[in-house]
């Protein structure tokens, strides 16, 4: 079995398999990624870095494409709330 990685999604501790993207981890939790211009919570759409729906704040840096970034030990992910 692949090793587990611990990260925080909105301050909640979550464990995922090594290699899991941040977008996949967020979808697993049914957590939204960003809030749209008119206030809808959005999740990943294209899964390949084109649609920009999966933008989140990672380790304090806003607007990262979560589908292209693998989860890392100790990572802090914050979604729009």
């Amino acid at each position: 079995m692949p090793e587990l990685i611990s990260l925080r999604i909105n301050h909640r501790l979550v464990q995922v398999a090594y290699g899991t993207s941040v977008a996949a981890a967020l979808m697993q939790q049914e957590a939204g990624c960003r809030i749209s211009v008119t206030g809808e919570t959005r999740g990943p759409l294209c899964g390949m870095g084109i649609c920009y729906e999966c933008r989140v704040t990672i380790n304090g840096v806003p607007d990262r494409l979560s589908c292209r970034i693998p989860c890392a030990e100790g990572m802090a992910v914050r979604t729009d709330e």
């Binding site: 993207s21 996949a24 049914e30 939204g32 749209s36 809808e40 999740g43 294209c46 899964g47 649609c51």
Partner: protein, 430 residues
Amino acid sequence: MNSNQNSTFDVVVAGGGPAGMAAACAAAGTSRVAILDENPELGGQIWRNSVHALESPLAQQWRRKIDERNITFLAGHRIFAAPERGLLHAEGPDGFSEIRYNHLILATGAREQFLPFPGWTLRGVTGAGGLQALVKSGLTVANKRIVLAGSGPLLLAVAAYLQQHGAHVLAICEQASLSRLAGFSLALLTHPGKIAEGLRYRGALSQVPYKPGWWPIMAHGRKGQLRAVTISNGHRQIEISCDLLACGFHLVPNLELPALLGCEITDHGVSVNALQQTSIPGVYCAGESTGIGGLEKSLIEGEIAGLASSGQYERAQALRFKRSHALRFATEMRRAFALREELRHLCQPDTLVCRCEDIPYERLNGHTSWRAAKLHTRCGMGPCQGRVCGSAAHFLFGWQANSIRPPVLPVQVGTLAGTRTIPHTNHSLQ
């Protein structure tokens, strides 16, 4: 490669999917070759690596071929400008870089065609290939109830993949009618490899209802999360409760980079001749970006482009029959999976078309061009730069997305700042 490093290659291949890999291998015997790709690994979308491993033998074979040759792979590089002939500006993991080439092969691949319908912005509605990519990157779908909808062979491939990973695929709704698909099945008789592929999916999916002539008309949710989808065949409607709805209306070529370089583009993709040469001297194009046609077409076009760009014209011409065979298949496929008229009328007035700027259908309807719609509504001017809504608007309203200006992608401000420090003295190349 270090930032601000100036690198020159005989052949630069933009895109590391099947077409790009085949092109690089064919050219590498005689030339100094580099492949650039936005992703960390070669393979494109179709051969994307999975955390669950188990890659297709063909993908492994091509990866080995690349490894055996002296090919530079510039991973994580996004080309955002082509300021002059023979020069590309890219943003990589280490910042900005200038890449010079004598010959350029565009193998930019394709993305999914998305179409707006009420509820398509709910969480849990994804692309079909999009959902597969997410599962490959670790999303668990075991025991999830999933409906696939849209069009094209990808729906079957994705359904089989999801099923293998424990999902309950409740239905595959193919918008093309049964009669269209029957015509396509006949055409397949001249492509035996495709039949085997189809039978394999059919076998894996024997328990899953395949519904030709059905399409999604509304996704229903609670608190922004998908709960069900209503599908229709024009006469009847069925509501299906589901956890995920994966929708892809076949594929559209990635044309931003070819357009930026000034290549002539037709309805189906970049115009090329039998040697894969575009209208711009020294620039070739291969694979899905010349027109959607699948893996075989990508590999053969890539090989031809690689051979031709490195001066091996006879070997390139020897592949012309294989090429026309693959092109015939592409034409048959295009006919079979052409999008039906009803899909143009799924939007309610308040259905969002542009997801970046939240522009509803009613604000777009009535404009006469993509440009006018952009100027008046900001449609297509968000971070995705119209990659999702542009092709949807093209289908809904018939507008062409005709103006590409650098940067073709959102880039870090530092990268753009970095480009200013480099003098552009080589105008004589023009």
